[in-house]
């Protein structure tokens, strides 16, 4: 017997995560290694389970919004609008034109943020640290814009049933165009640094392969499916909101590997910018806050008059409403929310100045009243940054949802992940994982 015949080959079990610097998001991947090749893998999730669905059942419809922020925390605006859309469809509400445009604009900004984060992080994990810094720099500009509009960077809670929290700031359109111009330069820069980079190309091309049939069988959507060559995008195939008004293309890949998914994401950001440009051009002005006679009342004065009971004549006037009563003069929800007093909180000025608005406010705020969709069920789905984001909401006619189910876009991808990485090297696990863009917040809920 020779020496070599006596040596035995053993596989090694390598545990990646749940707290590993390269797995951005808490997840555990048990990889069985044959040398450097992954021969088997098992993915364990649930480390970030917060009971989102149970929490939603315990609160009112409006109270669900802060929880939806925390699903996909890179593009929380899309989650917000998806949930609002589900409840609106349940109630048969239609939001005003201006609000639809605001929702589209904010969603597309979020999508760019999400893709920038994904590409930046993937590049960093392959050693291209400066790309990460450039991408995050651009994301920061967009987040500043988001902060200006919503008041927060991440936990925005901007959507409301039947509208949004507040209208856009006065100089938003100009700011947004400026940010878009700068961001598009950054995207070009990233493009030049990565797309034809030998190291990046070799690490991404042919890695993390998934065929079209497999991707469909696993129920994968979004850039991951489009990278495998399926032209499926909810914005085009089941146009919701006002997406049918915009002219944009759906990029698809041909190989179904990491590199294709990277290219798809790069192109999607440019397409998002196209949508944004069109939306900014088309966005109508909301109704102004003047009454039929053109008379405008100063908000503080109107509130004061109301507090002293001097409501005579006030009813006919619409207040010039502002959110803070401190003189920001920002157009408030009058112009951006559904004209449906049962579902929408009246502006504070009106609550102070007339009894109808006060009762209206009471009916919505007090427990047991609130937003009450009719009995029924709805599955409302939008194109999230990672794929189809769906909300299945069941109403029993009370002010609390009976059941809220969130279909997270990265759930099917993570289910398939253990199959995708088999046959690749252990070092390839990281870029493949990066191209999934797993968000533990929505995966574990």
């Amino acid at each position: 017997m020779t020496q070599t015949a006596q040596t035995e080959t053993k596989t090694m079990l390598l545990n990646v995560g749940p707290s590993h610097p390269a797995t951005h998001g808490v997840i555990e991947i048990n990889a069985e290694l044959d040398g450097e090749i992954i021969s088997k893998a098992n993915v364990e999730i649930g480390y970030l389970h917060r009971g989102f669905e149970k929490e939603c059942e315990c609160g009112t419809y409006t109270q669900c919004f802060p929880y939806t922020d925390r699903l996909n925390y890179v593009s929380p605006l899309i989650n917000n609008f998806a949930f609002a859309g589900a409840v609106e469809q349940l109630m048969g509400l239609k939001v005003p034109e201006r609000c639809e445009y605001i929702r589209v604009i904010m969603s597309e900004l979020s999508r760019i943020c999400d893709h920038l984060t994904c590409i930046g992080a993937s590049a960093m994990e392959l050693g291209a640290f400066s790309v990460f810094l450039y991408a995050i720099k651009a994301r920061e500009w967009i987040w500043e814009l988001v902060e200006e509009v919503t008041g927060a960077r991440l936990t925005i809670s901007y959507a409301r049933v039947g509208g949004v929290k507040a209208d856009l700031p006065v100089d938003f359109v100009a700011d947004c165009r400026k940010v878009l111009r700068k961001t598009s330069e950054v995207i070009n820069e990233v493009d030049q640094l990565l797309t034809r980079n030998r190291i990046f190309y070799d690490r991404m091309r042919g890695i993390g392969l998934i065929s079209t049939e497999e991707a469909l069988a696993w129920g994968i959507t979004g850039p991951f499916l489009r990278g495998s060559g399926v032209e499926y995008d909810v914005r085009k195939d089941f146009p919701y909101s006002i997406y049918d008004r915009f002219d944009f293309d759906i990029p698809i890949g041909s190989e179904g590997d990491n590199y294709d998914r990277y290219l798809v994401r790069m192109e999607e950001m440019r397409q998002s910018m196209r949508i944004l440009e069109q939306a900014l051009d088309q966005m109508p002005e909301g109704p102004t806050n003047v009454d039929a006679e053109g008379k405008v009342i100063d908000p503080a004065l109107m509130a004061d008059l109301g507090k002293f009971g001097k409501t005579k004549g006030l009813l006919r006037n619409e207040a010039l409403i502002e959110p803070t009563l401190e003189g920001s003069q920002r157009r408030f929800h009058g112009g951006v929310n559904a004209d449906s007093p049962d579902d929408w909180l009246p502006p504070k000025e009106e609550v102070y100045s007339n009894i109808e608005a006060l009762m209206n406010h009471f009916k919505i705020i007090m427990e047991g009243h609130g937003v009450r969709p009719a009995k029924g069920e709805v599955y409302y789905f939008v194109e999230g940054a990672n794929g189809e984001l769906g909300f299945y909401v069941v109403s029993d006619g009370t002010d609390r949802p009976w059941r809220v189910r969130c279909h997270p876009p990265c759930f099917p991808i993570m289910a398939a992940f253990s199959q995708i990485i088999v046959g690749d090297q252990i070092a390839d696990l990281i870029p493949t994982f990066g191209s999934v863009n797993m968000i533990a917040g929505e995966l574990d809920r």
């Binding site: 149970k54 469909l216 399926v230 195939d237 089941f238 299945y392 059941r403 289910a415």
Partner: protein, 157 residues
């Protein structure tokens, strides 16, 4: 209702097992528990619903049968959608697994088992997905108290 060719086709094929159908927000059929695997195969192979988009359950608590397992299918050709609901109940609610047809049913069904305690027959590896093995109870059931303490966490001081 009768105008819809898709629902008509399903009615022709599964008339005995079909409990009801509607097309309020999207085409929906409610089918009895025994027929789900057959219906799913029919949808996949005959009608082109190749994507199992979502699988979840709802606890109606006072209704009998108590639970409803809800499937959302998508047909890429023609971009059609269909919701299938299966009422299940009893002390040990169970329904046939769709894992032979779609690989992603594996995790979806594990999650439903985890959250509702509905068993899927024919599932290769039915264990908790999001929660840990020592967890007691199924939290999305309506009779699970929201302030329940778990053994590993210990009582509140």
């Amino acid at each position: 209702m009768s105008e819809n060719p898709l629902l008509e086709r399903i009615r022709d094929e599964f008339g005995d097992s079909l409990i009801s159908a509607h097309q309020l927000d999207q085409d929906t059929v409610v089918i009895s528990r025994g027929a789900i695997l057959e219906l799913a195969r029919f949808l996949k192979e005959q009608l082109g619903f190749e994507v199992l988009m979502d699988l979840t359950a709802v606890d109606y608590f006072k209704r009998r049968p108590r639970f409803e397992v809800v499937y959302h299918f998508l047909a890429m050709r023609g971009r059609k959608r269909l919701r299938v609901k299966v009422p299940v109940g009893g002390m040990e609610p169970k329904v046939d697994s769709l894992t032979p047809l779609w690989p992603n049913a594996n995790w979806f069904e594990r999650e439903v088992f985890d959250m509702f305690g509905i068993r899927f027959e024919g599932h290769p590896d039915l264990r908790r997905l999001l929660l840990y093995p020592e967890f007691e109870g199924h939290p999305l059931r309506k009779d699970y108290p929201v302030d329940k303490r778990q053994p590993l966490i210990g009582p509140q001081d």
